[in-house]
Symmetry: C2
C-alpha cells in the first residue's frame, strides 16, 4: 500500500450543512449579539418576501424573549401565503433548497440557506427543534417541529399536527443559546427600525425582551410591484450554462431555443450568431457539444445586444423613500435619487438608490451630539455587519466630502441611505452582510452619492448664509439706537424717525429679499 | 390551488457547486487579478499539504503562461504522495469532499472546496477540463481530464491514460480566462514569495508569464513535524456533535465512549460527569437521546478540564522564521515571538507567531522610499486579500505604535509577519482570505505584537541614541583643534598633546563604553 493509499483512506464526502455548521461564522453566527440579529434578519427577510410574492401588504410581528443567560426565544409571524405541509421540512431544514436560488427575480432572500441556518443554530445551541405554525388558507392549520440532519442536509419533521383554522400566514418560533440582546446599532431592534425605513409598505411590530412594543405603521399602502423572473441575458452567459439550458430545453431547434430562452434574443440576432459559427441551428438543442457551446458563446461576445431588460427591478422609489424619511427621520432637509437601472458582469441588472437626510432625527444620537450614519440596504434588507468590506461603505468613503462643504462628516446629524436592488446581489459571503465592489456598481454608487451630496451642500451653504445674515442683522440692529442718536444730534432730525427708517432698511435687506444673495437663496429653497 | 401551491411549484434543490458557481466571489473569484492569485493559492496550498503529509521536503514549481488577452495557463507540480486513480475525479471536481474537513489536523486546506473551485472556474471561463498527471510511486502514471457536473456536484473524468513511470507526485494544468497577471502585492508572484517566507523548508520555483524564473531555495532542511489529528476537546462539544459521535461509536458503554473519544477525558472525569447527570453510563452509547446529550453537555460545562492538548499544533518556530527573514528580507534588525498555544471557542487550539523585520529588504519599496507591510499567514499560507476584515490587520491597527517610538509606522521599512496556526482556522469566508476576530485570537495577537514592538522600540531608540552620540562626537571632535589652541595659549601646554588627549577622552566616552548610556545600549543589543 502506498503512502497515497493510506492518506486517501481518510477521504470522505460532506454535506453543505456540515460545512456551514463548522463554518457558522460565514452565515453570520459569530459573537452572541450578531448571532441574534442574524436570526431576526433571516426570518424577517423571508416573511417580507413571502408577503410580497403572495401580493398582500406585509404585517409582521417580531418578538424576542429572554429565557435565561444568553438564552432567548425568537418568534416571527407573517401574513404571507403559508407553506404547504409537504414543504415545511425543506423550507426550514434543507440548505440550498427553495424557490429563489434558480430564478432571476429580485427578492431579499436568494440562497435558500438562511432559515435552515437558524434551525441548525437552534439545534447546536439548545438541542431543540424550531416550531412552525402555518396555513395556506384552505381552512387547515399545520404545526410541526423541525430539525436538520446535518450529515445528510435533510429535514427531520416531528410532532405534526393538523387542525381547523382560518388564516393565511406563517409563525416560526425558535429557541437559541449563545445569543445576546443588546441595545446598539447592530441589535434586532435597529434591524427592524431600518427594515421599516426601507419598507414603508409594511407594518412591523417589534417586542423586545423587556416587553417594550414598537409599532412601525405603514407610510404607504401600495405594495411594491410584484417581482417577475427575468430571462437570462446572453452577455452574461457562460459555456456550461448554455449547455445546461440547451440539454433541458424542449425546443425543437437551436434557433428557437436561443430565441425563447434568452433576453433580447430576436430571430435576427440568432441568425447573426449562426452565421458567426459553423453550427447548423436547425439541429436539436440537446445536441450542443462543449465545442459548439464555446463557439456560440464566442459569437455572442462579438454580437451587439440591447442592454438587459430591467423591468423586473423594483426600486423603492424617490417618493416612497421621502415618505419613509418624513415618517421615521423627520429631517430638516433631504435629497433622494433613484438612478437608472444598469448592469454588472455583463448580464445582471441592478439599480442604486441614495438618500440623505439632514437634521431632525437623522444621524445617530449619542451623549456627544449626533454622528453620521450609513444605512445600507440590499433589496430593502438592512445590512448591519461587515460594513468595512462593503461596496456601499467604500463608495461613501471615496467621496471627498469637503468638496461638498461637509467637513467632519462624521459629526453631522446626517443619515446616508443606500439601497442596491438587483435580481442577484453579489454578496461577499453567505452571511449576506456586504456587497462585492463590482466596478459597475461602484460607479453608479459614486454618481448617486455625488448628486445627493450637491443638494446637501446647497442646503448647508444656504443655512450657513442664513445664519450669517441673521448675525449681521442682529449686529446692525444693535447699533441702530446709537447711530440714530448720533445722526439726530448732527442733523437735528428726529431720533425716533431715524430709528424706524434704519430698522426698515435693515429688515428689507435681510428679510424680504432685494439683494442678490437673498434671490439665490430663495431659488435654492424651492 | 392556493397561492402557496403556485409559489411552491418553483421549489427546487441545488448542489453546493451550483451555489459556489453563482457566488464565485465567495471563493475568491472576483476581479481578474484576484482570480488568478486564487487559483495559484489553491494549488500551492494543496501541494504543500500533500508533501508534508507524505513526509518529504516540498519541491514545487508554479508556472503561469499567457495564452491570450485575459487568458492564462497555470501549471503546478509537486513531489507529494500522488493521487490514487480512483480519487482523481473527486479531488478536483467534487466540492466538500476530501481528507481534511472532518479531521482536527493543522493543514493549510481544510474545506475540500478549493481545487474543485479551480476546475469550475476553468470550465465556466474556457469550457475546458483541467488536466492531471499523477503517480503514487508504484511504477504507474495516471493522466486524466477532469470537469465538474455542477448540477450534481460530481466529477466527469475523461481521456484517462495509464503508462509506466517512476516518480511520486502530481502535476495539475488548468486553462483560465477572465484572469490577469499583474506585478503587484496581490499577484501570484508575491503569493509565492510570501509562501517561501513562511515555508523555508520548501523549495519553490516560480516562472512568470515573461518566462522570468525565480527560485526560492530552502533556508532549512528539516520538515515541520507531521500533522496529527487531535481528539475533540469536551469544552467545544455541542449537543448534536455528541449524538453524532455516540451513534457512530463502537464502544460498549457511554463511559468508555467518552473516555476514548474526547481529549482530556479521564475515567475520573467521566465519573464526575456521570454523577452530575441522571444517566447510567453503562448504557450503550447509541442509546443517547437528545435529552441525555443535553444533560451531558450541561454537566461538561460545570466540569473542569485540562486545556486542550496542543501537541498537534505546528508553529513555524522562532529560529526558522529567523532563518527565513535573513534569507529573504535581510533586515538590519528583527524580533520574533512564537506564543504559547491557546484555545478559542472553548475547544479549538491555536497559536500565534509574530515577527518584525526592520531595514534591509523589509517593508515594501516604492518610488517614495519604503512603507510598512503586513504579511498575514494562516497555517503558513499567505493571505493577500480582504485585509480590512481580518483579525490580524485589526490587531496591528489596534496597537498604539507611538508608544513604541514608531511614529508614522506606514513610512518605515518594516515587515510585520503574523502566522496563526490552528487545527481549524476561523475564516470569515469560503475564500479563506481573512480570519474572524474571535476574542481569544485577538488577545494573543495583541500581546505578541506588543512584545515584538518593544524590541523594535529598543532597537530604534538605541539606533537613534547611537546617531545622536555620533553627531555629538563629530561636533566635539570638530572643536578640539580650536579648544587645544586656546588652552595652549592660556596655559603654555603643548597644543599637539592637548589635542591627542582630548581626542582620546571623546573617543573613550563615545565609543568604548564607560558611560551609563553605552552600557544600557550594549545590554539591549545582545
Amino acid at each position: 500500500m502506498t503512502q497515497a493509499d493510506t492518506i486517501f483512506k481518510e477521504f470522505k464526502e460532506h454535506s453543505v450543512a456540515e460545512f456551514f455548521k463548522k463554518n457558522r461564522q460565514m452565515l453570520g453566527y459569530s459573537g452572541k449579539i450578531r448571532s441574534l440579529t442574524t436570526i431576526v434578519h433571516e426570518y424577517v427577510t423571508n416573511a417580507l418576501d413571502a408577503c410580497e410574492e403572495h401580493g398582500v401588504l406585509p404585517e409582521i410581528t417580531v418578538k424576542v424573549e429572554q429565557l435565561g443567560n444568553d438564552h432567548y426565544r425568537v418568534t416571527v409571524t407573517d401574513n404571507g401565503p403559508g407553506i404547504p405541509q409537504s414543504h415545511i421540512g425543506k423550507v426550514f431544514a434543507q440548505m440550498l433548497s427553495g424557490t429563489k436560488f434558480h430564478r432571476f427575480i429580485q427578492q431579499r432572500g436568494q440562497q435558500g440557506i438562511g432559515a435552515s441556518g437558524c434551525t441548525m443554530y437552534a439545534q447546536i445551541t439548545t438541542g431543540k427543534p424550531i416550531h412552525v405554525i402555518t396555513s395556506t388558507g384552505k381552512g387547515k392549520v399545520y404545526e410541526a417541529n423541525v430539525m436538520i440532519d446535518v450529515k445528510k442536509n435533510s429535514p427531520l419533521v416531528t410532532d405534526e399536527k393538523e387542525y381547523d383554522g382560518d388564516f393565511t400566514g406563517t409563525t416560526v418560533i425558535g429557541e437559541f443559546k449563545d445569543v445576546q440582546y443588546q441595545q446598539s446599532d447592530k441589535s434586532p431592534g435597529e434591524y427592524v427600525r431600518r427594515t421599516a425605513l426601507a419598507n414603508p409598505h409594511a407594518k412591523i411590530t417589534f417586542i423586545d425582551p423587556n416587553k417594550l412594543k414598537t409599532v412601525y405603521e405603514r407610510a404607504v399602502t401600495v405594495l411594491p410591484k410584484k417581482g417577475v423572473a427575468a430571462k437570462p441575458h446572453p452577455k452574461g452567459l457562460e459555456i456550461d450554462d448554455l449547455i445546461e439550458y440547451a440539454h433541458h430545453s424542449k425546443e425543437r431547434t437551436i434557433k428557437t431555443f436561443l430565441v425563447n430562452t434568452f433576453d433580447r434574443m430576436s430571430a435576427a440576432k440568432a441568425k447573426e450568431i449562426e452565421e458567426l459559427t459553423s453550427i447548423d441551428f436547425q439541429r436539436k438543442p440537446d445536441s450542443i457539444s462543449w465545442k459548439d457551446a464555446e463557439e456560440i458563446v464566442d459569437a455572442i461576445k462579438k454580437t451587439q445586444f440591447l442592454a438587459p431588460s430591467t423591468a423586473e427591478l423594483r426600486p423603492i422609489g424617490e417618493s416612497t423613500i421621502e415618505r419613509s424619511f418624513l415618517n421615521v427621520l423627520e429631517p430638516e432637509f433631504h435629497s433622494i435619487r433613484t438612478r437608472k437601472p444598469a448592469v454588472y458582469r455583463g448580464g445582471v441588472p441592478f439599480q442604486v438608490e441614495v438618500g440623505m437626510a439632514y437634521g431632525g432625527k437623522a444621524g445617530r444620537g449619542n451623549e456627544n451630539g449626533s454622528t453620521a450614519e450609513i444605512l445600507r440596504f440590499a433589496n430593502r434588507a438592512p445590512l448591519l455587519f461587515d460594513g468595512g468590506g462593503c461596496a456601499i461603505t467604500k463608495a461613501v468613503n471615496s467621496i471627498d466630502w469637503k468638496r461638498y462643504q461637509l467637513r467632519n462628516i462624521e459629526t453631522l446629524p446626517l443619515s446616508i441611505f443606500v439601497n442596491i436592488c438587483s435580481t442577484y446581489v453579489p454578496y461577499t459571503g453567505a452571511g449576506k452582510q456586504a456587497i462585492s465592489d463590482e466596478d459597475e456598481v461602484m460607479k453608479d454608487l459614486g454618481l448617486a452619492l455625488m448628486e445627493v451630496a450637491r443638494d446637501i451642500k446647497s442646503y448647508v451653504t444656504s443655512e450657513r448664509r442664513k445664519y450669517e445674515k441673521h448675525t449681521k442683522k442682529l449686529t446692525l440692529t444693535k447699533y441702530i439706537p446709537e447711530i440714530s442718536r448720533a445722526v439726530s444730534e448732527l442733523t437735528g432730525a428726529k431720533k425716533e424717525v431715524l430709528e424706524a427708517n434704519l430698522l426698515r432698511i435693515v429688515n428689507d435687506k435681510y428679510e424680504n429679499g432685494g439683494d442678490e444673495e437673498a434671490e439665490e437663496e430663495a431659488g435654492e429653497e424651492q
